[in-house]
């Protein structure tokens, strides 16, 4: 098993709030890792540190054997890690097709010469293929700012995949999406990023989604990974039940209640 991502002893604190406490994770090719945890458990901070947006106070992040701990996001992206966002980060004033076109234009690299055409036939064909793969072709010419939430999410994820990343991080891909649509969207996303030499990590609150799509689960609480392993095992774990699922036994709940 080749290690794609190796995170060793990551620490980060915002004042007294601990975002990461000795986080160590190894991700191998082809894995589908679900990340669970209550709000403020350090899930997004983890994603932010791996993608270079946040600098850890200590610890190292290695990707394909190369230290990427101190790289800025754009260098991390160039190394082969992409991410989507909980709140979709898209170009709201241009159309869905132009969002993808701009993303592809940047991904293909090289800004010079300055008069190189963005709207090249090959690139337009690639946009059409992406629209098809993510099932958002009907919205092609709509301004991205006017899209329904589910389509925004898909567009955001589609833009994250244009560089064909080896590791794709999805921050709550199904948040803000109705329960009926969640599985459809995850089917689209997982289908679109399927490929042997590619790993996906996704932050998710819905355990049904975790059970269906994850091959491994990381459970975060107060910046620490309190459990990891196969989905059934982690969801059944006593600590996970207590810290994340809120199924605390009656006794401890009474003890924790204020007088």
């Amino acid at each position: 098993m080749t290690a794609l991502l190796e995170v060793i002893s990551l620490n980060k604190a915002f004042g007294s709030v601990v975002a990461a406490n000795d986080v160590t994770v190894t991700v191998a090719d082809g894995e589908r890792i679900g990340i669970i945890g209550a709000n403020g458990a350090g899930k997004t901070s983890f994603v932010n540190m791996v993608t270079g947006y946040l600098k850890p106070s200590s610890g190292t992040i290695a990707f394909l054997g190369r230290d990427i701990t101190k790289l800025p996001p754009r260098a991390v992206i160039a190394a082969g890690i992409s991410r989507s966002f909980q709140v979709p980060q898209i170009f709201t004033s241009v159309t869905v097709a132009d969002n993808l076109l701009i993303a592809l234009g940047v991904a293909e690299g090289g800004a010079f010469p300055l008069w190189r055409k963005l709207r090249r036939p090959a690139r337009l064909a690639a946009v059409a293929a992406l629209l098809e793969r993510f099932g958002i072709g009907a919205y092609r010419d709509q301004p991205a700012g006017l899209l329904p939430q589910g389509v925004r999410k898909l567009l955001d994820i589609a833009m994250a995949t244009v560089r064909a990343p080896r590791l794709l991080l999805l921050d709550e891909p199904t948040s803000g999406i109705s329960a009926e649509e969640k599985f459809a969207i995850m089917d689209v996303v997982m289908g679109a990023v399927d490929g042997a030499r590619r790993a996906v990590m996704f932050v998710e609150h819905d355990l049904d989604i975790i059970a269906r799509y994850a091959t491994r689960v990381l459970a975060f609480a107060e910046g620490t990974i309190i459990a990891q392993g196969a989905p059934e095992a982690v969801i059944g774990d006593a600590q996970v039940k207590r810290y994340i699922l809120g199924e605390s036994p009656p006794l401890s709940r009474a003890a924790a209640a204020p007088p």
């Binding site: 754009r74 992206i77 980060q89 170009f91 241009v94 940047v106 337009l124 833009m159 560089r163």
Partner: protein, 321 residues
């Protein structure tokens, strides 16, 4: 998706050809005014690029002034007389200054970008006013340029300069259009919309802004050099903040929808100023002020939005032409 037929380039070529042909019959004062309008539109063309990225420079007169003084200094110090060479020197010097300042300015946005660019332009103004060798507040005269070895005089010289200005403007508008339609140029609107996404696509927002800033400065330098040659005189007023303000005014008047907009906006502005000054010699600025107010209230996308409405099939796309 089909690649749309580019109406902008066709309109640009047609407009430039018509103007060039008409110039052989137009009276001298119209030729002179048209030279000024087109030269100043080049400065606005540069501001349009920055405006697309959500940035407004309140100090573009810095590069306009550098272009103009570069012409004067190249004549004074090296005795250069060729118009092509002088304008080229203006462009290169303005771009070089912007390249250096860009490392700082590309980090700032909004009002901070605007005020910092204003500060740099006022530093140049202060320096010019204090500099006796550069004529202080009086400035100095620019000699009649030569054109590839020819030395026309009188109206012929004005006409040659107009043709040079027209050709340069057409080439600049074409190249700017191509730039805005390139992967990097399309990032201008993308940056205005969402810098985080641009970074996460793997491109440096600062570098993209830096490139646009240098291009805008080169265009302003060309404008300044051409105006200096046309007027035959330069003084520090060219770099004063009211000069920058005028370019901002014309940018808002024009709108950022097309590279053709600055030329229409610049012509309208000169007409407006001429009529306002004629109608109310002592309070014409007030008329300009009211016009700006009406514009912001009723035409926030500039006069280009009117043109775009007339030809909706051509200019609906504002992101990446």
């Amino acid at each position: 998706m089909t690649v749309p037929v580019d109406g902008t380039i066709r309109a640009l070529a047609l407009g430039a050809a018509l103007l060039a042909a008409a110039s052989f019959w137009l009276p001298d004062w119209v030729i002179f005014l048209a030279t000024l309008i087109i030269a100043k539109a080049l400065v606005v063309l540069g501001l349009l690029i920055l405006w697309r990225a959500g940035l407004m420079s309140f100090g573009q007169a810095l590069f306009y002034g550098v272009g103009a003084y570069a012409v004067g200094l190249a004549q004074l110090a090296f005795g250069l007389r060729d118009a092509f060479l002088l304008v080229l020197i203006g462009i290169v010097l303005a771009a070089a200054v912007a390249f250096v300042l860009g490392f700082l300015l590309a980090r700032y946005r909004d009002i901070f970008f605007a005020m910092l660019s204003l500060a740099f332009s006022m530093i140049l103004y202060g320096t010019l006013v204090k500099s006796a060798t550069l004529g202080s507040t009086d400035g100095f005269a620019i000699l009649q340029p030569r054109f590839l070895g020819l030395a026309p005089a009188g109206p012929a010289a004005k006409h040659d300069l107009f043709l040079l200005t027209l050709c340069l403007a057409a080439a600049s508008a074409y190249l700017t259009h191509r730039y805005l339609g390139s992967p990097l140029g399309a990032l201008t609107t993308a940056i205005r919309d969402n810098e985080i996404r641009v970074e996460y696509l793997g491109y440096s927002v600062e570098r993209a802004i830096h490139v646009s800033y240098v291009i805008a400065a080169a265009l302003a330098g060309a404008g300044g050099a051409l105006v200096a040659l046309a007027v035959g005189h330069i003084d520090p007023d060219a770099t004063y903040w009211t000069s920058s303000g005028e370019f901002v005014f014309v940018t808002i008047l024009s709108g950022a929808g097309s590279v053709l907009a600055p030329f229409i906006g610049s012509a309208l502005f000169e007409l407006l100023r001429a009529y306002a000054a004629d109608y109310a010699p002592y309070s014409w600025q007030m008329i300009l002020g009211f016009c700006l107010l009406l514009l912001i209230l009723f035409l926030p996308q500039g006069v280009w939005s009117l043109v775009a409405r007339l030809a909706p099939h051509r200019s609906r796309r504002t992101a990446a032409p």
